[in-house]
């Protein structure tokens, strides 16, 4: 493909580790040219610039002045809004890491800025591209297990450390980090919004200043009941980082998704560790392909800013519920 026809993309911040894999996958696409990056952590920016052989700009403003059509935002959650609005005003399409932001007002401003400036905002929910998930959704759409009655979900993880455990930068711990993926899947499968959320939340596993475990229970409009465990509860000795699971109870059948169970067992004496090597298909590349195609073919984003907002709202509702020790009705007032 001629260089001029390629979709030119800039990376705004490598604070979130996904920036690394996103950049690698984007650079592997024939239809994409990654122009450069900007990172407020200069050292990290230089290291990434060297690794990917792309230009590191002094700041985001300079990156946005370049001839680029789109940006990928992988900053700390609390900076999503500022960067996204800046990018929107510079008329760049946006792929924003989840969660969309740390509060409803910021999310609304982001969506508004994109609308006003005629640019597209897509949220990075790669779980929608997991093969087991897309297959399950197709089985449900075909009516093969009848009406959906209940969903039991988990998105367990390990303790991430870094800015993830600084509430000012992340907006919240395990509940903020791991509620949005699975709630997004449930919304996508059911085509319904959460009506009521209840949560028990604690920081008892790691005893840091931020929530690290809990369990959410919610009900969707239309009556589907659901729960979700977003805990950072996989110990260091565990075989893998965590999981995404969905047990979907239908009137005529039950579907169980264990999206990261495609594993080869490795027993490594040098690390005294048993771990899983995943052999599943890559969901990130499909998500990035969708983002690039959105730009090339002028399509609507597969996962909108509104999707990002509604998923985050459930996490915020969970925090409010845990604080009040009672169920909370959505949307939040």
């Amino acid at each position: 493909m001629a260089s001029d026809d390629k979709v030119k993309i800039g990376i705004m911040s490598f604070a979130h580790m996904h920036a690394h894999s996103y950049t690698a996958y984007l650079m592997g696409m024939d239809s994409v040219k990654v122009i450069g990056l900007a990172d407020d952590d200069k050292k990290r920016g230089r290291a990434m610039s060297k690794e990917f052989k792309i230009k590191a700009f002094d700041n985001c403003k300079k990156l946005l002045k370049e001839d680029i059509e789109a940006v990928v935002i992988c900053s700390e959650n609390s900076k999503h809004a500022e960067l996204a609005i800046m990018a929107a005003e510079a008329k760049k399409h946006i792929l924003c890491e989840k969660p969309i932001s740390t509060n409803i007002k910021d999310a609304q401003k982001m969506i508004e800025a994109c609308k006003k400036n005629g640019v597209k905002l897509m949220l990075a929910f790669p779980c929608r591209y997991l093969t087991s998930v897309t297959r399950a959704r197709r089985i449900i759409e075909n009516g093969e297990i009848g009406r959906i009655l209940a969903i039991k979900g988990t998105n367990h993880g390990s303790f991430p450390g870094g800015w993830f455990v600084d509430v000012k930068k992340s907006g919240g711990g395990a509940v903020m980090d791991h509620t949005v993926h699975v709630v997004d899947l449930m919304r996508w499968i059911l085509n319904k919004e959460v009506k009521r959320v209840y949560a028990e939340i604690d920081k008892s596993i790691h005893n840091k200043k931020i929530d690290d475990c809990g369990t959410l229970a919610f009900e969707f409009h239309g009556g589907v009941i659901a729960t979700l465990d977003p805990s950072w509860s996989r110990p260091k000795s565990f075989m893998t980082w965590g999981d995404v699971t969905l047990d979907i109870i239908g009137e005529k059948g039950v579907i169980q998704v264990d999206a990261f169970a495609q594993a080869i067992n490795v027993f490594d004496d040098t690390k005294n560790k048993h771990y899983w090597a995943n052999w599943g298909s890559n969901a990130d590349t499909k998500m990035l392909r969708s983002f690039v195609d959105m730009i090339r073919y002028n399509k609507e984003p597969a996962i909108s800013g509104y999707d990002g907002l509604k998923a985050m709202e459930v996490a915020l509702g969970a925090y409010e519920s845990a604080k009040k020790k009672q169920a909370v009705e959505l949307p939040l007032k």
């Binding site: 009655l149 988990t154 028990e200 604690d202 008892s204 475990c213 729960t227 805990s231 509860s233 000795s237």
Partner: protein, 322 residues
């Protein structure tokens, strides 16, 4: 010789009868069932036409009837100074439970409720690991018990009034197990299908907060089609404990023609061990692995969960113990 009379000839009644017969010094004198046809299907024992006649001939009554009928048989047992074994749950409502406890304490009656998990090797060993702080302090617990739907006599399970649905039938086992491990419950939030009017099946999800801080997620299902399955996961501050009944198959057999089965056999038949513990209690007075207060507390939490499904609100456990 201890003479046992079994009331109710359903699945549990038959199972108990088989086990009681294997305990030395115990004799099953006979059975009674409101359905005479069902009664006659039990072989090798006398069939009583009235429960009063059965009471006359036994020292111990074993109540294996639909949940909403437990109370009247228990009260009759106490009145007639019989030792009483009753399949879980103790009874259907807290009013009934209060009446039973009051009378049982007054008369010093020996009553045991069949919360059998405490007698299963795997659950007893999980409890041992928890007590030994094998992975540190438990923080978030997930426990599950799923099965297909059984109709029972006159489809009594599908009546919320009679059975209490899957919460009072299956989830109550795990509630008892968790209370055995972690003590009293602070509050409960639960959702189910039966309270929403779904027929001939039930599925329930509950979140418990224990007084010791543990958060527990419970799943109980009659909506799973591939048979009985249970699991436990305890995420702790120094590691994780997990058990899944699907995985430890120490025995797998496949026959030409496609029939196959998997099993994980143990020497101890949990029902037999449970009933032996009960018989020992009736003979020596040694309190079994769970006493009536445990069963009362477990019922209170289970009914609180059921209440939560109806109101959509969290229920704080007030009483704790009778």
């Amino acid at each position: 010789m201890d003479r046992v009379g079994v009331i109710g000839c359903g699945k549990m009644g038959l199972k108990h009868m088989d086990c009681f017969r294997r305990i030395p010094g115990v004799k099953v004198v006979g059975v009674y069932d409101t359905n005479a046809v069902k009664c006659k299907e039990c072989s090798g024992v006398k069939h009583y036409e009235t429960v009063a006649e059965l009471f006359k001939d036994c020292d111990i009554v074993d109540i294996c009837t639909p949940t909403n009928t437990h109370k009247e048989y228990i009260m009759e047992g106490i009145k007639q100074k019989k030792a009483v074994f009753v399949e879980k749950p103790l009874c259907r409502t807290m009013d009934e439970a209060n009446e039973i406890l009051k009378e049982a304490k007054k008369k010093k009656a020996k009553i045991m409720v069949g919360h059998i998990l405490r007698y299963f090797n795997q659950y007893a060993n999980i409890k041992r690991l928890v007590d030994a702080k094998a992975a540190g302090k438990p923080c978030v617990v997930r426990i599950s018990r799923v099965n297909g739907f059984r109709r029972g006599s006159n489809n009594w399970f599908s009546s919320l009034e009679k059975s209490g649905g899957v919460i009072l039938d299956l989830m109550i086992h795990d509630i008892d197990f968790l209370m055995w491990c972690f003590g009293d419950v602070e509050r409960v939030y639960a959702m189910n299908l039966m309270s929403k009017g779904v027929q001939d099946t039930d599925y329930a999800l509950a979140v418990l907060r224990f007084k010791n801080g543990v958060i527990a997620h419970l799943e109980a299902s009659w909506a799973h089609y591939s048979g009985f399955r249970t699991s436990v996961e305890m995420a702790c501050d120094k590691g994780l404990i997990s058990y899944d009944s699907r995985n430890p198959n120490t025995l797998a057999v496949e026959f030409a023609g496609g029939r196959n089965f998997k099993d994980s056999p143990v020497d101890e038949n949990a029902t037999l061990v449970e009933l032996k513990d009960f018989i020992n209690y009736t003979r020596s007075g040694k309190i079994p692995k769970l006493d009536i207060d445990d069963a009362y507390g477990c019922l209170e939490v289970s009914l609180a969960a059921l209440e939560s499904t109806k109101t959509g609100k969290v229920v704080t456990i007030k009483k704790g113990k009778f």
